[in-house]
Amino acid sequence: MIGVLRALLLLAPYEFRERYGRELIADFHATLADECKSGRSAVPYVFRACVDLLGTIVHERTTTMLRTLAYTFRSLAHSPGTTVAIVVTLALATGANVAAFSVINGVLMHPLPFAHAERITAIWRTTWINEQHCMHCPHSPYTTFELRAHNKTFDAMAPYGSFDGIVAAGNVPLHTGGVRVGAEFFDVIGVRPQLGRGFTLADEKATAAPVAILSHAFWRTALRADPAIVGRTILVDAKPVRVVGVLPANFFFPNFNRIANEHPAIYLVLQHTADLTPGNNWMGLIGRMKAGVTRAQAQGDLDRITLELHRKWPNNYGNGARLDGVNVVPLDDDLFGSVRRLLYPVWAAVFIVLLVACLNVANLLLARSISRQRATALRVAVGATARHVLGQIFTETIVLSIISVGLGLILARYGIDVYKALSPPGLHRVDQIGIDWNVGLYAFGIALFTAVLTSVLPALMSMRTDTFSLLRDERVRGGAANAVRSALVAGQIACAFALVVSCGLFVRSFAAYTASDLGYDTRNGLDLFVPPINAVFDPTPQRQIGYLERLRSSLGSIPGIRSIAYGTSVPLSGGTGDGDFQVAGGARDVDALIDGVSPGYFSAIGIHPIAGRDFTRDDRIGTQNVVIVNEEFVRQFLHGARALGQRIVRPVSFYHKVVFTIVGVVPDVRLHYVGESPYPEIFFAADQMNFDMSGNTMPFYLRTSVPPATLTHAIANAWKSVDPREPVPTISSLPEVIRQASAPMRANAFILGVLAMIALVLAISGSAGVVAYAIARRTNEIGVRMALGARPGLILRTLLYKAAIMAAAGVALGVGLAALTAKGLEPQLYSVSDFDPATYAFVTAILVTATIVGAFVPAYRATIINRSMALRYE
């Protein structure tokens, strides 16, 4: 029972324990013996004694702490300059850190609103495109149905893919984006509609009546939250569709790899017929694994099916010896992988800034503890123990870091707003970013981290203090401490170097991206994203083509428009579909991108056929089927042979094939993305595409001779004049598209730029501080040397040499650090290598110059002041 009391006593402050612990235990012993002698039970007494002792411990702890705190605040107030410098430095660094963490916390760490999300996977097709292995390629509808039918490891599986259509539900037809999904889509992600029912397998049959499920947002805005919507019929591209359900408000569409529309308004069932064949790869696929099945088992199961498919369709599932496969990816990886790649560098950067700030603060504290060495020695001499001195240092840094982190939280609050404004469009769950308990806990951790990091060195130095020699001799010994401080500055410079290099790489990427050569002229180019054409009122292809023609002449009458074209994809509007073809005479199917374009499309984007001709008005339905291919197509599939007149076959369905003749070859241009590598592509004549266009948009591409922004109004008017019932398209100019696509790089360049700036300023002020301190310590020496005739230039050079050494050491260290960080950034860089010599050389020059210039100011002042001070001092 004594043991309990002894253990409790360990919680008491050291001083109290040392002074009274033995006596206390002895007295307890004696009183306990009395208690037992008087025949009473010992247990209540021991209990009371323990509670009583606990009370004493709390009392002693509190008073000790309050005393230490009071001393701390007094000593901080004693050197206000240093205190403010430390608090500002740490507040900036922790603010940036907390802001970055809040973003990561909001975007990545909130659990997904799906039941058993760990069982949900995305399933991609893997295939070889040129020499590259695509790991996240879409499937054909046929493949998805085969995988679903034959797997043994999934509870449910569902394909999904985008469509754009005109939905007539209320009075006004609306151009809306939606997705077509397999019947089990909502079962896979484990979400039930708020109203009505989900899809059933019966809905998938081609003969079944089409049904739709609406998003909560669409139901609320377009249908004014009509409670009786379930069971009603709406028109989607002029076809009647029955609404069977409405999704809950918090539903989050898991848009894996961004393959589909970001916020679908309407979900339709992907219907299929028995004679479906491979080809036409445009579908994503998700599945819910059975309970207890591992990812590897699921992968093996699907591999087996893919091999089977390959045996059945050797031409469609592989390219010679390179077979297609599947890639089973956990939901989390697939949804947030790219976001992680975007956010983690920023987190790493703010951490580096924190490191620099801590080094800076450690440096300031070290300088101060050296200047206080005599005071400390005096305290030790009158009885303070090492425990006291160290406790004081730790308390001081903890107080400083808690104040700083408190301020940092306030700064972070605004930093988050800045980040939200900068965040690339389409970042998931930006609205979730904010300061919550996780962030608070993180901030607390950061406070502890900085306190420990900044106090270790001053603590170590104070342990080395030799009390007696200090008290005997006036001279402050600072040699070792100064070496440590120089090393700290070198560390700071290294960190700053890595940050500035990262920032520089992004700036160069950004510049290269915005200036990249697409192969055609982007100035004054205007994309018009046209809703599916007039489908509400007359969906036949002939009618659609007629409408397009009338639009074209109406737009053509606007002054300032030089040329007009339309096509299934206008420049830089993103991905297009691909499909399987047979080149006449070839043994196997080939995979190529597909586009439909109008006559004059190529001249509108400023390229000309290098062989053959462009499409003309005569390439209509009913005339010879013609295509234009790009150079890469000729290179890969015709092996450079004469392309004109060759024929390619497109299987429209299992029974129906269409033959096209190549009439032209165009150069390879970057039509879909900035920076895409050449890929075989077939251009069809848009007027000849005899397949249903209602699922595809047919955007216009205009080239203007005046600034595009001035024409927006005229375009809208021209549009309305052709058919007032049609929605007006969204207009975007090519420079704007490029600007948006480069937004993540710009954001990263900006954020890293700010952080690099902070790190740079801290590093330079650190080195200037060390030089200034060295000068202060050597005032006598410098003065004497100058009095004896040393030229100021020589003194200056000696001092600057010190700064140069620190800079050189820092840069040497920094190159290694930068190489590491840049490696991590590599996937985000564009046309710049992660070890870009120009960037490294430039940053080296900046840092060395800045450090020396920073040191020049105190050094120069020293040479001037010393002239008059020197002899007075001695």
């Binding site: 109290f16 009274y20 007295d27 002792l53 606990l54």
Partner: protein, 116 residues
């Protein structure tokens, strides 16, 4: 030595009962901790039995404030002695309590048999 105002013991009262008991226990001789507990217990017919935690919290306070001092004339136990300053404070507190008793007596509030 600079001039300091003569400290007034009245500024330190009233005391907590436990503090007063400790001062009283030390008023007629040096005692160690256990002896203080036993002395108080005997004087109060076993009503007040200080627990070690409270005892040493108060002793530390009293030593720090110089109302009592440690005397090292025994290797095994540490003895405590009342300082003149501590005695003045105890006297001031007892005087205050005497006043309280007079007032209570005048109002017939004192327990039966109690003498002043």
């Amino acid at each position: 030595m600079e001039y300091m105002a003569k400290p007034d013991p009245k500024a330190k009262i009233p005391l907590s009962p436990a503090t007063l008991y400790i001062l009283l226990a030390l008023s007629d001789g040096d005692r160690h901790g256990y002896a203080i507990i036993k002395e108080i217990e005997a004087a109060t017919d076993g009503d007040i039995r200080l627990l070690p935690g409270t005892l040493y919290r108060l002793i530390k306070q009293l030593v720090d404030d110089r109302w009592i001092i440690e005397v090292d004339d025994d290797q095994r136990r540490r003895y405590y002695r009342l300082t003149p300053w501590g005695r003045q404070i105890a006297q001031a507190e007892v005087a205050r309590l005497a006043g309280v008793m007079r007032m209570a007596h005048a109002r017939k509030l004192d327990p039966a048999g109690a003498k002043i």
